[in-house]
Every structure is written in structure tokens, then in C-alpha cells.
């Protein structure tokens, strides 16, 4: 993937976030404060506005800009978390203009570490980590996994948050009442990865 592919991916993420804005907010309304869709839509729209004119082929530089925009525009819990994730990934891809699958996995793993460092949550706490962590371990351990399979697994991870009781983030205050609803951040993370895998399909074909 080159800088153009990354740009395309980010734009597609934005499109899907805009489409799913109400759905994400509705999920957050059920177990949080109802703003996740609005937050993500505000942030990614601004990201897309800014990268439009981004010319530097350095993928790390691009992701660094994405990160700073998310940090400065999303707010809430998801802003620093996604922001930190992109920031850490950018560090890995600094100076890289053509990113291989293993570069990508490495960068995303750094991103996950950033999320965990910032938010101090673990797998099972009903957060976006419940998508990131199992997905990235699976991908790393089996780099040959088909994109189709990865997509299905991402969806599975997202679905898996439904029966969890939230331990971190706003939903944690609901205790057992948080069970039965998908974690909104896991849904936005699903969108991120699902779109990534679609893009990799395109790049491959």
C-alpha cells in the first residue's frame, strides 16, 4: 500500500462513518452518552478535508496528520484513543512510502499498544480493544489468512462485545445493564478494519 492507498482507505472509512453516524450514536445512546457517531463523523470529516491536499508520499507523515486531526477534533474517549493509535502507527511507518503487509501489522500493533497505554483497558472490558487485539493476534499469527476470513473475524469480534459487561469507558457505569448492546467503539473499529481489508482486496486485484 502506498500513500494513495492509505488516503483512499481513510476516505472510505469516513464515508462509512458518515453513513453509520446515527447508528453509532444510537448504540452509544443505549449504554453511553449517545455521541460516538457525532464525534467520529466530526473527526473523520476533518481528517479527509485536511489530507485532500496532502502530497508527501511518506505514509508515516500522512498518518501523523490523521492522528493530530483526530486528537484535535474528536474529543471524548474515542478521540485520544484513535488519535494515539494513529500516532503510534505513524511512528512505525515514518519515512515508509510503500508499506508491506507485515509493516502494516506491525504499525497496527503499535497502535493497539497506544490504545491500551492511553485507556488502560484490557480484552473483555467491552471496548474497541475487543476488536483490535484478537484480530491483530490472529492476523500476525496467520499472516496467510484470507481477507474474507479476516473480515468475517472482525465482524465476529465486534458481535462478541454484545454479551460483555463493560468495565471501562462510560458504559462501565451501567454494570450489567451494558450487556446486550454492541460496544459503539468496537463498531467504529470494525468499520476501520473492514474498510482496510476491502482496500487490500482492491490493491491485490
Amino acid at each position: 500500500m502506498n500513500q494513495e492507498d492509505f488516503k483512499k482507505w481513510i476516505k472510505q472509512v469516513n464515508e462509512r462513518i458518515q453513513e453509520q453516524k446515527e447508528y453509532l450514536s444510537e448504540l452509544d445512546g443505549a449504554i453511553g452518552d449517545g455521541d460516538h457517531g457525532v464525534n467520529m463523523a466530526r473527526g473523520f470529516q476533518e481528517v479527509v478535508n485536511r489530507i485532500e491536499t496532502f502530497e508527501n508520499p511518506d505514509i508515516g507523515a500522512l498518518l501523523q496528520q490523521v492522528a493530530m486531526t483526530l486528537i484535535g477534533k474528536v474529543g471524548g474517549a474515542s478521540g485520544p484513543l484513535y488519535g494515539t493509535a494513529f500516532l503510534k502507527a505513524a511512528g512505525v511507518l515514518k519515512g515508509v512510502t510503500e508499506c508491506t503487509q507485515s509493516d502494516l501489522i506491525l504499525a497496527l500493533e503499535e497502535g493497539l499498544k497506544g490504545i491500551k497505554m492511553r485507556g488502560k483497558a484490557e480484552v473483555g472490558d467491552k471496548t474497541m480493544i475487543d476488536v483490535w487485539e484478537p484480530l491483530l493476534s490472529k492476523w500476525k499469527e496467520n499472516p496467510e489468512t484470507s481477507l474474507k476470513e479476516l473480515k468475517a473475524f472482525t465482524a465476529e469480534c465486534m458481535e462478541g462485545t454484545r454479551h460483555l459487561e463493560a468495565k471501562k469507558g462510560r458504559a462501565a457505569y451501567l454494570g450489567k445493564r451494558s450487556i446486550g448492546t454492541l460496544d459503539p467503539g468496537s463498531v467504529s473499529s470494525y468499520i476501520l478494519f473492514d474498510t482496510l481489508f476491502s482496500n487490500l482486496e482492491d490493491v491485490a486485484s
Binding site: E22, S25, G29, A30, I31, G32, D33, G34, D35, G37, V38, N39, R42, I71, G72, K73, V74, G75, G76, A77, S78, G79, P80, L81, R118, G119, K167, K168, G169, R170, A172, Y173, L174, G175, R177
Partner: protein
């Protein structure tokens, strides 16, 4: 959604503008930010206090900016923590060299965004201390989870830390008294109706005509439990019991009581509720030094209220009684 607004996505900036237009002798907006600071910031030699969070809690937080309380309030989007760059601008604008205390309500988003701002400010050589308010006893305390939320009791932290700073205390002293308040203030709320984030255009959840939520936060998030509507007396019994369970009053210690309306609940109901609270506290031998009733930390137009009780000592009484010049106290 029926609101007196113009653009649902522009409520925060229009609101801040409206506040500065109303109180030009008290407040000043940092250009290009959602930060309101004391007109005379930075105050030479004084420890500065910065608080903030999502909007929708008015008069929190900008209503507490002024002599004797906060030096700056950072406003996020409605119910959304402000971003680190905004908090950082606030810190820079109010620091006079004596250091800055950040008063943060315990929400993942607030904590992370304020922490990132603190890191940025410290990198610039500004002394920053942080306290995290977690007064809401509706949620069990646990180190395994996020811990407890910060709700209306936060205004006592603003008031008392603000008074301490105004008196010329050091950053360490101001931080210490803020933490003292935090360990001694407990709160819990209930709600009768949901509220609507303007940009979302519909309420966060639904509620039947005979239902209420117990253990309500201040972001339109559901409470910990839903029950049939109760009387004022029953609600008072519930909240007083939960709050007092975590505060031991001994040797005639006195209490400050805050009965906080969440937005749509009229003063009439808050006064009635206070009658029940005051009677229960008397029965339980808790002496009330001072009662505050009104809207201090709201959830846009949610109907409901919270009860906060602060266990006082001589130092806290003196600081609580110090004069302030702010809009919301």
C-alpha cells in the same frame, strides 16, 4: 427536538459567545478556542485552576470562572470531552508561573484529554497538577473498572480549591485541599426524563410516564437502575442512605448539602426535595452547615436531580464561605 437554538452543530460556540456578551466584565474568550478565562488572567503569583469537560452542564464550567474559583473553563462539544489542544491553550493562558491545577471529572475521555494536555504543558515547562473527582456513589467503587464518575460534587472542589488558590496557597496546597474535598464529597442522582444532544436530534433513551432512572450520570447516559416513579420522600431516603453510607460524621462534623437540578426540574421540586433531605439528615444526626439548591451541574434539559453531601471541617468551612465573583455560584 425543540430547542431555542440556531444551528444544532454550532451550539457550543454560540453559547460561549452569548456568555461573554453577557458577562464581559468577568469573562474573556481565548481567540479561536472554546476556552473562557477570567478577564484578568493570568493573575500574578496565583496558582491557576482549569476545569472543563463536555458542554451541556451549564452553568458548569464557565459559570464558575472568576475571582475565587476557576481561572479557565474548557468547553468540549455537548457531552464530549474537550480535546487536548484546547486544554493546553487554557493552561498556557492562565499560568502565571505558580503552576496550574486541573480539576477533572472521572470520565475516560476527560481524563485522557486532560492528561495529554498536561503532558504538552509540562513539556513546555509549566508546573501542572491534576485531581480527579469521583463523587458518584451510584456505581460501586472498584479499581478493576474505570472507578466512579464525577458529578455535581465537583462544584465543591471548584469552590474550595478556588478559594485556596485565591488566598495565595502553593500548587501543592491547592492540590491537597482539592483532594481533601474529593475524599469527603459523595453524590448520587436520579432522572425523570432523558435529554437530547442537539447534534443528535433525539433523546438518548426513552422513558415511560411512570418510570425513573436511579443513579443517573450527567451525560444523558442511563442510570444504574430503572424503577417506578417514587415520591420525593422515597427518593430522598434512597439518596441520603446511599450517600451517607460512604461518609462517617463524627464529633459533630457539619455537612454542606447540594441539591442540584439537572435542567428541567423546577426549583419548586428541589425545595420540596430539600425538605425531605433536611428532615432525614436531622433524624440521622447530621448537622447541616449550609444548603445549596439550584442548577449547578446540569444535563441539558433533563428532568431530575442529584444530592451531594460534603463533610466539612474548619478549613473547608472557611474556604466554602469565602466570597466569589462568578456567574454560577
Amino acid at each position: 427536538m425543540k430547542k431555542v437554538i440556531n444551528d444544532p452543530n454550532g451550539v457550543v460556540s454560540e453559547m460561549l459567545e452569548g456568555m461573554v456578551l453577557a458577562y464581559p466584565e468577568k469573562l474573556r474568550q481565548l481567540e479561536g478556542t472554546t476556552v473562557l478565562v477570567r478577564k484578568d488572567a493570568p493573575v500574578t503569583g496565583k496558582v491557576a485552576i482549569v476545569s472543563g469537560g463536555g458542554s451541556g452542564h451549564e452553568p458548569s464550567h464557565a459559570g464558575y470562572v472568576g475571582r475565587g474559583m476557576l481561572d479557565a473553563a474548557v468547553a468540549g462539544e455537548v457531552f464530549t470531552s474537550p480535546t487536548p489542544d484546547q486544554v493546553y491553550e487554557a493552561i498556557k493562558a492562565v499560568d502565571s508561573g505558580a503552576g496550574v491545577l486541573l480539576i477533572i471529572k472521572n470520565y475516560t475521555g476527560d481524563v485522557m484529554n486532560f492528561e495529554m494536555a498536561a503532558e504538552m504543558a509540562e513539556a513546555e515547562g509549566i508546573k501542572v497538577a491534576k485531581v480527579i473527582v469521583n463523587d458518584d456513589v451510584a456505581v460501586e467503587n472498584s479499581t478493576y473498572t474505570t472507578g466512579r464518575r464525577g458529578i455535581a460534587g465537583t462544584v465543591f472542589v471548584h469552590k474550595i480549591a478556588g478559594a485556596k488558590a485565591e488566598k495565595g496557597a502553593s500548587l501543592e496546597e491547592v492540590e491537597a485541599v482539592a483532594n481533601k474535598v474529593i475524599t469527603r464529597v459523595k453524590s448520587m442522582g436520579i432522572a425523570l426524563s432523558p435529554c437530547t444532544v442537539p447534534a443528535v436530534r433525539k433523546p438518548g433513551f426513552e422513558m415511560a410516564d411512570d418510570e425513573m432512572e436511579i443513579g443517573m450520570g450527567i451525560h444523558g447516559e442511563p442510570g444504574t437502575e430503572r424503577t417506578k416513579m417514587k415520591t420525593s420522600r422515597e427518593i430522598a431516603e434512597l439518596l441520603v442512605e446511599k450517600v451517607l453510607a460512604e461518609l462517617e460524621f463524627t464529633n459533630g462534623e457539619e455537612a454542606a448539602v447540594l441539591i442540584n437540578g439537572l435542567g428541567a426540574t423546577p426549583l419548586m421540586e428541589l425545595y420540596i426535595f430539600n425538605k425531605d433531605v433536611a428532615e432525614l439528615l436531622k433524624q440521622k444526626g447530621v448537622k447541616v452547615y449550609k444548603t445549596f439548591i439550584g442548577e449547578y451541574m446540569t444535563s441539558i434539559e433533563m428532568a431530575g436531580l442529584s444530592l451531594s453531601i460534603l463533610k466539612l471541617d474548619e478549613e473547608l468551612i472557611n474556604l466554602l464561605d469565602m466570597p466569589v465573583d462568578v456567574v454560577g455560584w
